[in-house]
């Protein structure tokens, strides 16, 4: 039977949803992101685990984001994320700046059903000062005074990512990208796009099972060849260098970004 379409996946993400997305090196569901913009999703609480790039910049620029929780938004060697910076300056969304292990820890807390997780560091920083949702307690196991930060669990409604392949039973190969496992465990469900479905059973050998996210966590899977484009996917394909340079160039202005959306996001729908 044919799986769901990308548009059907996008339709499962309601306005106001808290969604977790991975960094570029883990596999970003860009094709699905474009479908989310086309569907006009609004007021997302976007949790970057622990950072994001083009995906966050597009969603912010298209007005889909109400709250952004991240340790960074960057286009890496292509430079700063222009819509992120512009959106911040005009106060277009609520910003929750974090540090990478804090996002990981809060996601892991949700994956264990814990209300919070402690984390070292952060004391004396303006990150801590601007996060009223974080608390400092005195470590009850220390003989001397020993303040430590507690982070409330982050429980996303939906984890969204792209992976090389799923097997015929809906298990997804994630290799060493264990942040994807953590995101899926923490989230009520996961929507996954893959390059392809392979007619294998990932659970059938110890070696392949070790790099597998088991189907029990996954709500739906859609096939999207080159679904991370123009972002890279692992060592399978690299950034579309020319496209990324073009993006950074045109997205400096509101008009340029609108043109980009018309050409590379809405265009596609018209053609279908």
């Amino acid at each position: 039977m044919p799986g769901p379409t990308i548009e059907q996946l996008a339709a499962q993400i309601p306005d106001g949803a808290r969604i977790a997305v991975p960094p570029d090196y883990s596999g970003v569901a860009m094709e699905l992101t474009r479908a989310m913009i086309r569907r006009g999703v609004r007021n997302l609480h976007l949790v970057c685990v622990p950072i994001s790039g083009l995906q966050a910049d597009l969603l912010i620029g298209a007005g889909c984001v109400g709250t952004l929780e991240t340790s960074a938004v960057t286009l890496g060697e292509y430079g700063g994320a222009p819509r992120f910076a512009a959106g911040l300056k005009r106060g277009a969304f609520k910003m929750m700046d974090a540090t990478c292990p804090a996002v990981h820890a809060a996601i892991q807390a949700a994956g264990k059903g814990l209300p919070f997780m402690p984390l070292r560091g952060l004391l004396g920083s303006d990150l801590l000062k601007n996060r009223p949702d974080w608390q400092v307690i005195d470590n009850p196991f220390a003989a001397e005074k020993d303040p430590i930060v507690l982070l409330p669990a982050i429980r996303p409604d939906i984890a969204v990512f792209h992976a090389p392949f799923a097997d015929r039973n809906g298990n997804v190969f994630i290799g060493r990208r264990r942040e994807l496992v953590a995101m899926a465990h923490a989230s009520a469900m996961s929507l996954v796009t893959v390059e392809e479905i392979r007619d294998v059973d990932l659970l059938s050998s110890e070696e392949s099972a070790a790099g597998t996210l088991t189907a029990a966590y996954i709500g739906d899977i859609a096939v999207a060849p080159r679904g991370a484009w123009p972002v890279k996917l692992w060592d399978i394909y690299d950034y579309d260098d020319a496209h990324m340079r073009q993006y950074v160039e045109v997205s400096r202005s509101d008009e340029g970004f609108a043109r980009y959306l018309a050409d590379f996001v809405y265009q596609r729908q018209a053609a279908e």
Binding site: P23, Y25, S26, P50, I51, T70, S71, A72, V73, T74, G76, E77, G80, A81, F84, A85, L88, K89, R90, G91, M95, D97, A98, T99, C100, P101, A102, H104, Q108, L119, R120, G121, L122, L123, G124, S125, D126, L127, L128, N130, N139, E144, K145, D146, P147, I148, R176, R177, R178, E179, L180, V181, A182, D235
Partner: protein, 248 residues
């Protein structure tokens, strides 16, 4: 042998890492990466180096969180942090400058792992090539990670100093001040002073930063250029053009 600015930075970093057992470098860090790989080559097999983005020099198997877990375990001896602003108390700012947060005039990507690693890794090397009063400020506009405050908190980590295009400052965690240790060839104490926005200790005589010897330069231009070129080919093409030509 003559050497470039980058080569001096790399060999200086390698010297600062001597004795480490495990060193990691973060995103967009070709000079720290090359410095760490050089230090490894000089360590006689006693140092492990993890270069983020590398395939051949990345031994982590437990996802993005493992680097932070290593630091928490006390296994990560050294790491590199930069900053859009760095102040005289070694506070670093990777978030933004001007106006009130979060609607800063200038916004940088964000704090990444700094709000944690700066507190946990014993030998953090602050590395920022640009040495101007725009970067080295009296007080940062946002503290992504705080310099040592003297308060009694759990803090096995912190900065050992700051390396720029002009000089190497050490940092005294008790006195909470930078100290100018050496100025790179071709630059002067006055130039450092003119371009630094914060006060720092300055001995009467400031030596020149030690030049790399011929053997080290040879190692760097050969084996190390090849090793770091796997992750940063454009950097190597620019800084070690002869090395690239030789390989082709």
């Amino acid at each position: 042998m003559d050497y470039s600015r980058q080569e001096l930075l790399i060999t200086t970093i390698a010297r600062l890492l001597a004795g480490c057992r495990l060193v990691a470098t973060g995103a967009s860090s070709p000079i720290p990466g090359a410095g760490a790989l050089l230090a490894r080559a000089l360590s006689g097999g006693r140092m492990r180096v993890n270069v983020l983005g590398s395939i051949r020099n990345d031994f982590l198997c437990d996802g993005g969180v493992e680097l932070f877990d290593l630091a928490g375990q006390g296994r990560l001896d050294a790491f590199f942090l930069g900053g859009g602003q760095i102040d005289g108390q070694a506070n670093i700012n990777l978030v933004g400058a001007g106006s009130a947060y979060p609607q800063n005039d200038v916004r940088w990507p964000g704090s990444f792992g700094s709000g944690y690693l700066y507190y946990l890794v014993p030998r953090v090397i602050l590395f920022r090539e640009e040495h101007t009063r725009r970067v080295l400020v009296p007080q940062v506009d946002f503290i992504s990670a705080a310099g040592p405050t003297g308060e009694a908190i759990y803090r096995p980590g912190g900065p050992i100093g700051l390396l720029t295009n002009l000089c190497w400052f050490s940092f005294d965690r008790t006195r909470r001040r930078f100290r100018l240790e050496s100025v790179h060839r071709g630059h002067s104490v006055e130039e450092v002073r003119d371009n630094t926005g914060f006060d720092f200790d300055c001995p009467d005589h400031v030596p020149e930063t030690a030049s790399p010897d011929a053997a080290t330069l040879q190692l760097l231009r050969g084996r190390i250029a090849a090793e770091i070129g796997e992750t940063y080919p454009r950097f190597v093409a620019q800084v070690f053009p002869d090395s690239v030509a030789a390989a082709q």
